[in-house]
């Protein structure tokens, strides 16, 4: 689960990391008030930065991050940004913060390294750009340090990171921030805690003092660990979750919307991707990825069917179940029930093998479902059915 910048910053602050102040505004007026406090308050910011709060990347390029020097300008800029839509997501909130006097930008992240089975600290002397881009153009600029799986990230490791990033003048601060990122990760069961940019900023008037601060923050939480972080559910942004996604989550269904015409219902993520691949191979386009998970009962099957049919583009449905924990007859019953409630008539091809497949076959036959023996055959039939449906429409 991704969380918004402002929430991520709160989690960083809770671990004692240096994050400059900010406010969140939901309207131009709120943004004006926030800017006013920052421009004329104790901090005496010379400018404020106003940033769109959306979970998708690339908001900067999209014009979702802008500066303002006066209350009027802040209101105006916020009005612009709050009217934007970035990669299809309407901007409903902005973050208002004092504009930093940046001396140098870096990148620092704690990520779960699957291959090494450890927490990885990734630092780059090139901040402000995407790490994948640095990895592609200047891989040597990336410093990688693995935390010990049993001892955690030790000070000496964080110092090594600091030296390799050329942060000798900010040794203690770097150690504190690196350890704080790992602490934030562990305290919140995050997969990723990314600071980009981590910046050396000049504070105070004139030459000022240089300080290392977290200017942006991106945190991804491990969905599997939500059960022990009850406060995290509140960080889910309802503005950014499509109704279908929320519905899928409620039923413990893994669902991703795609652009094709053939709805897929499968048990198991690998098999679901394979089903999509075979639909494509047979000349069709999948309308979704949908994994009903292990041991799905009739009720979940019906919910999955509703999710698929909610997309008007869907012209055929392919159900592919390899019973293991999941019982084929339960799925068949769910399909029969779902078809009764179905608002529109879409052709369906069903393949059920494995546990209780014989019972399932009998049920499906009685209910006059079109079935298929192999996955390849099922994909071909579904693509043909969609074509026929498309031509009929």
């Amino acid at each position: 689960m991704k969380i918004q910048e402002a929430d991520a910053k709160k989690l960083l602050l809770a671990q004692g990391l240096p994050v400059p102040p900010w406010e969140v505004a939901r309207s131009p007026a709120e943004a004006r008030a926030a800017a006013s406090r920052l421009l004329h308050g104790a901090g005496h910011a010379r400018q404020v930065v106003i940033k769109a709060q959306v979970l998708v990347g690339g908001r900067g390029k999209a014009g979702g991050v802008r500066l303002a020097a006066t209350d009027d300008e802040a209101e105006h800029v916020a009005d612009d940004i709050l009217g934007m839509s970035i990669k299809g997501i309407a901007v409903r909130k902005v973050l208002v913060a004092p504009a930093a006097d940046i001396v140098r930008e870096l990148y620092l992240a704690a990520v779960l390294d699957r291959a090494a089975r450890r927490i990885l600290l990734m630092g780059s002397a090139e901040g402000g750009v995407e790490i994948e881009q640095v990895a592609a153009t200047n891989p040597d600029a990336i410093v990688r340090i693995h935390a010990d799986p049993l001892l955690g990230l030790r000070d000496w490791q964080a110092r090594e990171l600091a030296f390799r990033l050329g942060l000798n003048a900010h040794l203690k601060a770097t150690v504190g921030i690196a350890k704080g990122l790992v602490r934030t990760m562990l305290a919140n069961d995050a997969d990723l805690v990314e600071i980009n940019p981590l910046a050396i900023v000049r504070e105070g008037a004139g030459a000022g003092e240089e300080r290392l601060v977290c200017l942006d923050a991106k945190i991804t939480l491990d969905d599997s660990a939500l059960f022990r972080h009850q406060d995290h559910e509140a960080l889910r942004d309802p503005d950014e979750e499509a109704p279908a996604d929320a519905e899928a989550r409620r039923h413990d269904i893994s669902f991703i919307h795609l652009d094709g015409t053939i709805g897929c219902m499968v048990n198991g993520a690998g098999l679901a991707m394979t089903t999509m691949d075979l639909v494509k191979r047979a000349g069709g386009e999948p309308a979704n990825f949908l994994d009903i998970g292990g041991g799905a009962k009739a009720e979940r099957v019906a919910a999955a069917m509703r999710l698929i049919l909610a997309e008007p583009r869907v012209e055929a449905i392919l159900v592919n179940i390899f019973g293991g924990i999941t019982r084929g007859d339960e799925v068949a019953l769910g399909l029969i029930e779902a078809r009764k409630q179905q608002s529109r008539d879409v052709p369906m091809v069903v393949r059920i093998v494995g546990t209780n497949a014989a019972e399932a076959a009998r049920l499906l036959e009685e209910a006059h479902f079109e079935t298929a023996a192999s996955l390849d055959e099922a994909a071909e039939k579904a693509v043909a059915a969609a074509r026929a449906q498309g031509q009929a429409a």
């Binding site: 990760m185 690998g270 546990t355």
Partner: protein, 294 residues
């Protein structure tokens, strides 16, 4: 022979008194696996599976009383990391963790500690393993198998069943089928299982079932290129049509920053001498094409 499990397997089922644990323990027992004990804290002294299997409070007691060498874990996610460590500390050499939904960071120290203890962990969030005709540990349906000499390793669940069924239907049997699990942090990788197959005299061919995301397939391919050079090898990669940046499944695979694509995996596997299938049903023919006669 076979890898990980076989006729010498003496299994303890951790969480045997739970609904899932009991259901699958029955299926394993029916397949012929020697279940020597069960373990559920607080249920010590009871008997499970129609009075055929003693239940213990602790793994140390279970091992002491039964000489168990293998365990299979069905305990809920919150307790599963601990169950793995308890098994390793009790001297269990091969641990299968079926439990799904374990927070990934919990597994980081657990995997390191299990290795330090010299035990092998498969999973979590895996379907287990079957050595057809000998033993089955986990939840893979026993009916899909056939005795033979192809070693199968996969990070999927039902996709594995699909592939194995296709092989069995084509008359190709398996030495051992291993589901390593799809979680971010797992006990044994593709590479580590391939190393076991390479050392197994009865495994004469390899099938690898991968998915998009990460670089574990590429890593395994690079090793196989030199270490399994003469062995017939086929593979299938799921997710050729998956879009970038979307997580496919709960704990699942994701393509990000252009890494972990099906294309990269297919290329690496082909370069290492794997025949790569467009559908699981093509795996048997690819093995034949590679010279497999088993």
């Amino acid at each position: 022979m076979s890898i990980l499990i076989g006729r010498e397997t003496r299994l303890v089922v951790q969480g045997i008194t739970g609904r899932e644990g009991e259901f699958h323990a029955r299926a394993m027992q029916a397949y012929g696996t020697a279940i020597v004990g069960g373990m559920t804290p607080g249920k010590g002294g009871q008997k499970a599976l129609d009075d055929t299997v003693p239940v213990f409070d602790t793994m140390s007691e279970a091992v002491r009383e039964t000489g168990a060498n293998t365990s299979c874990i069905f305990v809920p996610a919150a307790g599963a990391p601990d169950a793995i460590l308890e098994a390793a500390a009790a001297g269990i050499g091969t641990i299968f963790c079926i439990t799904e939904g374990i927070p990934a960071l919990d597994m980081v120290p657990v995997v390191a500690a299990v290795r330090a203890a010299g035990a092998t962990l498969i999973g979590p969030n895996c379907p287990g393993a079957t050595s057809p005709g000998r033993a089955k540990v986990g939840i893979i349906p026993g009916s899909i198998h056939r005795e033979g000499s192809v070693g199968v390793v996969s990070r999927s669940g039902t996709l594995t069943y699909e592939a194995v069924q296709a092989m069995t239907d084509a008359g190709i049997g398996q030495s051992t089928c291993v589901g390593i699990g799809g979680d971010p942090i797992i006990g044994s990788t593709f590479l580590e299982v391939l190393q076991l197959f390479a050392a197994d005299p009865e495994t004469e061919a390899i099938v690898l079932i991968g998915e998009i995301g990460g670089a574990a397939e590429e890593e395994a391919a690079a090793w196989a290129a030199t270490n399994l050079a003469g062995v017939p090898k086929a593979a299938f990669i799921a997710g050729r049509t998956a879009p970038e940046g979307k997580r496919m499944g709960h704990a699942g695979a994701i393509i990000s920053g252009g890494a972990g694509t099906a294309g990269s995996k297919v290329a690496a596997l082909e370069a290492a001498g794997f025949g790569v299938a467009g559908s699981p049903t093509e795996l048997p023919q690819l093995l034949r094409d590679a010279g497999y006669r088993g």
